[in-house]
């Protein structure tokens, strides 16, 4: 049974006729062609599908789309502003915190959620927050460093 719902994704309003129990991930990827969020496991175990819903890191593969109707959704595609990368995106490049890059969008979205809630996380806090993400290439240490570096950049940018 299809329903009309409204999604606010990266500041853009979309009216969609969808089955309300479809996953947010499949709607983003197949209906809106926003493929930055990835499928990795379908059970919320790997974090590759992470997007922000009202600022909170959310596993889009296990989130029925009707639950997020009308709420503000941010995907990796909406993170850079006017072509300027978010400090965490910059930090990922500077630290070289990726190999194949498939987990990267989810890692960055969770990292952004963490930094928004806790601008100066300790290493233990980063590990606890990010532990639901899998990087099979094993770049965990670099991702921790990238989050720390972004925290530093954001601190310096504050007046």
């Amino acid at each position: 049974m299809r329903e009309v719902i409204e999604l606010y994704v990266n500041g853009v309003r979309h009216r969609l006729e969808v089955e309300p129990n479809r996953s947010l991930l499949s709607v983003l990827r197949e209906d809106l062609d926003l493929t930055g969020a990835k499928y990795g496991c379908g059970e919320g175990q790997c974090g590759a599908c992470t997007v922000l819903v009202a600022g909170r890191a959310t596993r889009s593969c296990t989130t029925p789309v009707h639950l997020v109707a009308g709420r503000s959704i941010l995907t990796i595609e909406g993170l850079a502003r006017d072509g300027r990368l978010h400090p965490l995106q910059e930090a990922f490049l500077e630290v070289g915190a990726l190999q194949c890059g498939y987990c990267t969008p989810g890692m960055i979205m969770s990292g952004v959620a963490l930094l928004n809630a806790n601008p100066d996380p300790s290493e233990a806090e980063i590990i606890r927050f990010m532990n639901g993400h899998i990087c099979r290439c094993g770049t965990y240490g670099r991702i921790v460093r990238a989050i720390q570096r972004a925290a530093q950049k954001m601190k310096e940018a504050r007046p």
Binding site: G36, G42, L79, L93, G101
Partner: protein
């Protein structure tokens, strides 16, 4: 029977590729020995004006000893393994059949071209893994990109540079030695003339093979090679712009799903697809045991699949509980069986004052690349084009051509930079499935495997049993070494230690699970057994494990990494706490030398083993990109930690019992030890690949550290899938 187990063309892989369906003849040749996918003339026309430089090699008969697989290439007098084109606007395009799966070769190969051509990296674009555009390549595995493809591209770029020098000298009527090339420009300093290479080549239609002698830039003058250039196109990965195969969408494309049997070895008895076929927009394909659906969305395809009623006939299958007995009982005569004998074991036993033997085992494990197998297939004008994430684009082209009875030139395989492989993406299952569905639907179809499918229907790292027997003098000099590996494979089966009497043998066996390549192949299993055994022997004669290894080791490069790692780690210092321990391991494979030291802690209350810190020293000749090399080593250690401590595929009667990340534990942030990498840069030596070998030391180093901490000797990988809780041996 082959006696020489490791050859420069990577013989062990050939055996370990057995999961693949390599067609008779052609594809089992070494890199480059195939005709052009299109004729050279067509290719030059397609590129338009500009300068094209081809690396040509003497043709050789393919697979001389392959018994019935002999293939000659009569029409092509010479062979092409790489090419480079300079367009009128000065942009440089390099064509290579290698693929990018996260090992960052797009970056390192760009570096070598930039260095030799004297052009900034930003002006160079690599076309990779496209069977219509790139030269034939056997595949991206075996750590061959750096020693082979980087060396080829250096020659191509250096030859192009000299061609540009000739062009400028001719145009300006000056001596060629007086022409300088830097930053993408040719200059004649004496007259002050200067031109961009694009201007120089504009309007030219030149095509030149590479002369036999090309002057390469010596390592002492490298300015781009050897630097930590950042990942090429990294921005596209942190913004989500990069499109992996699973992200592609073609006009009118449908989403495909395939009906899977309930167990390995099951055959289809009957199937009722009527309900699925009645669903709007759904196409059902039945072809023998293949049943698949295609629909306008993944959800609809999944619903259609669920609506199919199928009956399967299953047959009893072995289970993981009994796997090691099964392997020992099911030895087979097969290609890849090999034996290596030095001196005489009889002499070795006679000289030995102490004799010792042990058995080690390793479990099947899964690659679990985060991007599962995926493919998009399109049939158009009698040609099939498939985008897919594979390490063997030309191998998958052959699989497709055979599956659909097409000549290979009617099939094109394109590999977008892929969400990792680790040796697990040599095959084209998803490509064939997508192509079958697309042919029936008359529209493009995308197939993306679910995680459960990837855990079940891909192939595994082989399980194995390794028996070691050794004899020593009382002073710790090893006199005899007998080493039998069942099933795991022959990679790195030979000992690097100087032992006068050896008998080393690889025994192929039947395997109840589909198995194939995995990062470093059997080098992980063989190093685990060998380096654990070395530790056991050291303790048997009461010698420090480092000293014991050095005593039996002549190889200077291996000694160097062992000493470097031990020094950085602070080897030989006392335990930092009662339940902590330190272990080390060393080894050699695929041109790389590695030594790893690990410190672990055991929590007595929970039995949990945590790896606190790891030091790895690695040497692979001249380093192309130090930071990307470090990244590979760190990644190999983290990945290897999973197979060392807790990863294992559990199966029973043809079913995988843990085909999900919630049931198959992989390393996570909280498993991360402090990692310290020591790089030994040997600019005097040719560069070897580094994506695999750094993984081989971590498992035995951890196992030896557990022994140091607890006195318990663990001889099965994974070492502690449930921690050490319930271990009665825990003192």
């Amino acid at each position: 029977m082959r006696h020489d187990l490791w050859t420069p063309s990577g013989e062990p892989e050939r055996y370990e590729l057995f999961a693949t369906s390599v067609p008779e003849g052609a594809s089992e040749s070494t890199d480059g020995e195939r005709p052009l996918p299109v004729t050279r003339r067509q290719f030059c026309q397609a590129l338009g004006a500009g300068v094209l430089v081809l690396l040509l090699r003497e043709v050789r008969a393919v697979q001389e000893s392959g018994g019935g697989r002999r293939a000659e290439i009569p029409s092509m007098p010479r062979e092409i393994s790489a090419w480079l084109h300079i367009a009128n606007d000065g942009r440089v395009t390099v064509y290579t059949g290698k693929v990018e799966v996260g090992q960052n070769i797009r970056t390192s190969l760009t570096q070598v071209v930039a260095e030799e051509l004297r052009v900034p990296m930003e002006r160079i674009h690599l076309v990779m893994g496209d069977t219509d555009l790139t030269p034939f390549d056997l595949g991206t595995f075996g750590s061959r990109t750096t020693p082979v493809m980087a060396a080829h591209l250096r020659r191509v770029a250096a030859a192009t540079r000299e061609l540009l020098r000739d062009l400028a000298a001719e145009r300006w009527k000056v001596e060629r030695w007086a022409v300088e090339i830097a930053e993408g420009k040719v200059r004649h300093p004496a007259s002050g003339r200067s031109q961009d290479i694009g201007e120089l080549t504009r309007g030219q239609k030149l095509s030149r093979p590479i002369p036999d002698t090309v002057t390469l830039t010596p390592p002492t003058e490298w300015r781009i090679i050897g630097t930590s250039a950042p990942k090429v196109n990294g921005r596209a990965f942190v913004t989500g712009e990069h499109r992996y195969t699973s992200d592609l969408k073609l006009p009118g494309m449908l989403y495909g799903k395939v009906l899977r049997p309930p167990a390995f070895g099951a055959t289809l008895v009957s199937v009722d697809t009527r309900e699925a076929e009645a669903m709007p927009g759904v196409i059902v394909v039945r072809d023998g045991d293949f049943v698949g659906v295609a629909a306008p969305s993944t959800e609809q395809a999944t619903r259609a699949l669920v609506a199919i009623r199928a009956q399967w006939k299953t047959t009893p299958q072995p289970s993981s509980r009994e796997i090691f007995e099964y392997l020992k009982k099911n030895e087979i005569e097969a290609e890849g069986r090999s034996r290596y004998v030095v001196g005489s074991l009889e002499d070795g036993w006679r000289l030995a004052e102490k004799q010792w033997q042990q058995t080690y085992t390793v479990a099947y494990i899964a690659h679990a690349p985060l991007e599962p197998r995926a493919a998009v297939a399109e049939w158009k004008d009698g040609r099939l084009t498939v985008w897919t994430g594979t390490q063997r684009p030309f191998g998958v082209r052959s699989e497709l051509a055979r599956a659909f009875g097409l000549p290979e030139d009617r099939v094109r395989v394109i590999v977008p930079d892929t969400g990792s492989g680790y040796g697990g993406k040599h095959t084209g299952e998803a490509a064939i499935e997508a192509a079958r569905l697309a042919r029936a639907a008359g529209r493009p179809v995308k197939v993306v495997w679910t995680r459960e499918e990837e855990f079940t229907w891909a192939y595994f790292r082989p399980a194995g049993v390794i028996e070691v027997r050794s004899g020593m003098k009382g002073d710790g000099t090893i006199t005899a070494w007998e080493f039998h590996t069942y099933n795991s494979g022959a990679a790195a089966i030979r000992t690097p230690y100087a032992i006068p009497n050896q008998w080393i043998e690889f025994h192929p066996t039947r395997s109840p699970l589909r198995q194939g390549s995995y990062r470093a192949l059997a080098a992980t299993a063989n190093h685990f057994a060998r380096e654990t055994a070395m530790d056991e022997l050291a303790h048997l004669v009461g010698i420090d494990p480092l000293e014991f290894r050095l005593k039996n080791l002549k190889d200077e490069r291996l000694r160097a990494v062992l000493e470097a790692a031990a020094h950085r780690f602070g080897w030989g210092k006392p335990k930092t706490a009662p339940d902590r321990g330190m272990g080390l391991a060393a080894g050699f494979e695929k041109g790389g030398y590695v030594a790893t030291c690990a410190e672990i802690a055991v929590d007595r209350a929970t039995g949990e083993v945590s790896v606190l810190r790891v030091v790895t020293a690695f040497e692979c000749g001249a380093i192309l990109n130090p930071d990307h090399l470090k990244n590979q080593i760190e990644g190999a250690l983290v990945m290897g930690l999973g197979g060392a401590l807790f990863e294992a595929i559990e199966f029973e009667n043809g079913k995988i019992l843990n085909p999900r990340f919630s049931r198959y534990r992989v390393p996570r942030f909280s498993d991360l030890p402090q990692i310290d990498v020591v790089l030994l840069d040997r600019r005097d030596l040719p560069s070897a690949g580094a994506g695999e070998t750094p993984i081989v030391g971590i498992a035995p180093a951890i196992g030896n550290a557990i022994f140091h901490a607890t006195g318990m000797r663990l001889r099965s990988l994974p070492l502690a899938p449930n921690g050490l809780k319930g271990e009665t041996r825990l003192p």
